[in-house]
Symmetry: C2
Subunit: 431 residues, 2 copies
């Protein structure tokens, strides 16, 4: 951000401009104003830095990570690789188990082998450390919180979700006026429990300037986490959610004063008719800071299919101006995702992001569809498969009824009643 404000164009800005098909000055101005971020640690090097924000293609993030109940280090690395293969722009490693060494090992592997921006929620490691050394998460002290961030920043983590907006006021309000689902953000809950136990302000909020200095020094991006994101549709757009957003809007401006890149995180479970106003409220309050949403999930009744529920919300959010979608897998609300779930989650999110890009940017985004449609009108199945978002799946479905490439060119849906074929023949005949 400092470079952009000084009129300097970095290598990263150039690459982003080229990939986005926009002028590099547009990128530079966007970064200077805080409306675009390029999350990239100065320790890391990867070929394809990405930009997130106003006027750019919508990006998607895939969460991976172990838990205490399922901890397979190699498996998590493979999930990250699958996610990138199917189009994830960034990875967040949300590992929470079993030990600090496990999650450090997973992170090391990803930093080395997966060449996209990596984010974490560092409080998970702080919590593990407190649990291990002091017997309970709520016994974390400020050092546990800040030291972990510095350690991870030095390793090269590109961006951190930090729940700076979870204040003592919000937590005490929530205690007096419970909502249906309480807090479902893990980082938000750790801090809320800490605030309740210690009767003090959130250390990240209290010492925000220190956090900003650290961010400036190590060149990491702060993703201001929404600890109060609604955990069910009934909690959506309520006092604590909006109050936290107000708090975050102040934190955004303080970050910009120190040339620190920030992203704002948002809901969560939101009924379809409330999504647009949520996005527009954030964009207005936060002066156009990049907005990153988890979902939104438009209904709570579909565990096993929340990848789909989230793709629906993601498109509505994207049409209203969201910049960055966090995927949701079919396992959400049920268990840790498998590799197959990660793949489905990424594909769903990719579809959502692409649908928004078409709506926002027209021909800057539709080349892919054009290739598919050109193949489709010629009934060229091999080309259709090639341009599918998941060629293997397309191939399997198309050929499962025993077609061969030497077939009459129709599929088993219509066979000789193929509309494309019949019309073509009728028009040819009359020429």
């Amino acid at each position: 951000m400092n470079q952009a404000r000084n009129g300097k164009i970095s290598k990263e800005m150039d690459i982003v401009a080229k990939n986005e098909q926009v002028d590099v000055d547009f990128i530079k101005r966007g970064i200077a104003k805080g409306r675009i971020v390029i999350p990239k640690s100065n320790v890391r090097d990867f070929e394809k830095p990405i930009g997130i924000g106003e006027g750019l293609f919508v990006k998607i993030n895939a969460n991976i990570g172990s838990s205490k109940k399922v901890c397979d280090i190699q498996g998590e690395l493979e999930k990250a690789q699958i996610a990138v293969k199917f189009g994830a722009d960034t990875i967040m490693d949300l590992s929470t188990g079993i030990t600090e060494l496990d999650i450090k090992t997973i992170r090391d592997k990803i930093l080395k082998e997966v060449k996209v921006p990596l984010g974490t929620v560092p409080i998970y490691q702080s919590a593990l450390r407190a649990l291990d050394k002091k017997g309970a998460i709520i016994h974390m002290d400020e050092d546990d919180l800040f030291n972990v961030i510095e350690e991870q920043a030095k390793e090269g983590v590109d961006f951190f979700t930090i729940h700076v907006g979870v204040t003592k006021h919000i937590v005490s309000y929530l205690k007096k006026h419970p909502r249906m689902m309480g807090i479902t953000s893990r980082g938000g809950t750790f801090l809320a429990a800490w605030i309740l136990e210690n009767e003090q302000e959130n250390p990240f909020n209290h010492k925000y300037d220190y956090l900003l200095e650290m961010a400036r020094e190590h060149d990491f991006t702060i993703s201001l986490g929404d600890g109060m994101r609604p955990g069910c549709i009934f909690d959506s757009t309520d006092y604590v959610q909006v109050h936290e957003l107000l708090e975050i809007s102040k934190l955004v401006k303080r970050a910009w004063q120190k040339d620190v890149q920030v992203i704002v995180e948002g809901p969560g479970h939101v009924p379809a008719h409330q999504i647009e106003s949520n996005i527009k409220m954030q964009k207005s309050l936060c002066d156009g800071a990049p907005f990153y949403v988890l979902g939104p999930l438009v209904t709570d009744i579909a565990p096993g299919y929340d990848d789909i529920v989230s793709a629906i919300g993601g498109v509505i959010a994207g049409m209203a101006g969201v910049d960055y979608l966090c995927y949701v897998t079919p396992s959400e609300h049920l268990s840790l995702p498998t590799k197959e779930d990660v793949k489905r989650g990424v594909i769903c999110s990719k579809i959502a992001a692409h649908a928004v890009n078409i709506a926002r940017y027209g021909s800057r985004a539709t080349q892919w569809d054009f290739k598919m449609d050109s193949a489709r009108k010629n009934l060229n199945w091999e080309e259709m498969i090639k341009y599918s978002i998941d060629p293997d799946t397309s191939r399997k479905i198309h050929y499962r009824d025993g077609h061969s490439i030497d077939d009459d060119g129709t599929c088993s849906m219509c066979g000789e009643f193929c509309a494309i074929k019949i019309l073509k023949k009728a028009i040819e005949k009359k020429k």
Copy 2:
């Protein structure tokens, strides 16, 4: 419609009002004005007639049916049963093969064993008859077209998709000004090919009054098919699509003059930013006639995942006022769907319809979510599974990592880092 206009309340209106939690007078007035239809043949009897239209829950349709390449009569019946099990409100049998006897057998079975409204596209049978007796679809004559409708109406088919709006003018325009994907509606293509070959007006359009008399006599609902529905995002909202809608808007009013219930069908492939205007244009031009869409599909790049692409479009369309969603399965654009595809397609569509109902009707639609959320906040997994849209899938995912019901109540996603559990404990402790 005639009964409603004469102020009579039928048994069907009563049932629909009860299921929709609205006053029966609201239903009666809606039917009288044409804004609500209850598609039900006077030959058939089933327990749960459904209403489609303004102020009612969004309904979903599942298409089943054989093709010449895949014709499994028992299999198609099972698909219809699976669709109803997972929430399809209506079934359309789009069988096209292998022989007239096959498709009649499938229809008979469904009429007897599947107790929801059944629709067909009768021209498919007319085309099969022409192909069999005269060697080519385009040799159909008016008798082939109208006789099949009368035969199927007598059997008890509740509604028919008929492409009355495909006019000679539109077809000749399309011949002169080709669009990317031409026509992908099968019924639309048969009629367009017929018009090109015979250089005459579409018989359904030319003899529309005769069709309306037949509808009145046999009490079937006409679904005015959109033969020009865009087959790719580049053809969306173009001259032929909108011209056909204008034609359809006139046909709606002529039907209402004869007390005939009509539904209007719509696109198709539509980029996300064009959906709202498409729906509002239809609602305005057609004086609020129920609107039935296939998709809409917001991108063309995801064969294998078009159930999801369609759920996204369905919610945006529903928010703008659509009444009735036709499902799309993962096999769309690739092959005839399997039973598993039918299940996925229905679930996707059901999620979309439910998300819209929440947005439109609030607490009239959210009881289901409330039950799920009550179970979720108590970490009651058996209840969560019970209230899932697909309990078997939820159960499989939740328990796959070896949990038992005697577990600590958390899932393998977070384990001991469960936000719900930690916050609850922290609050209890401070009480």
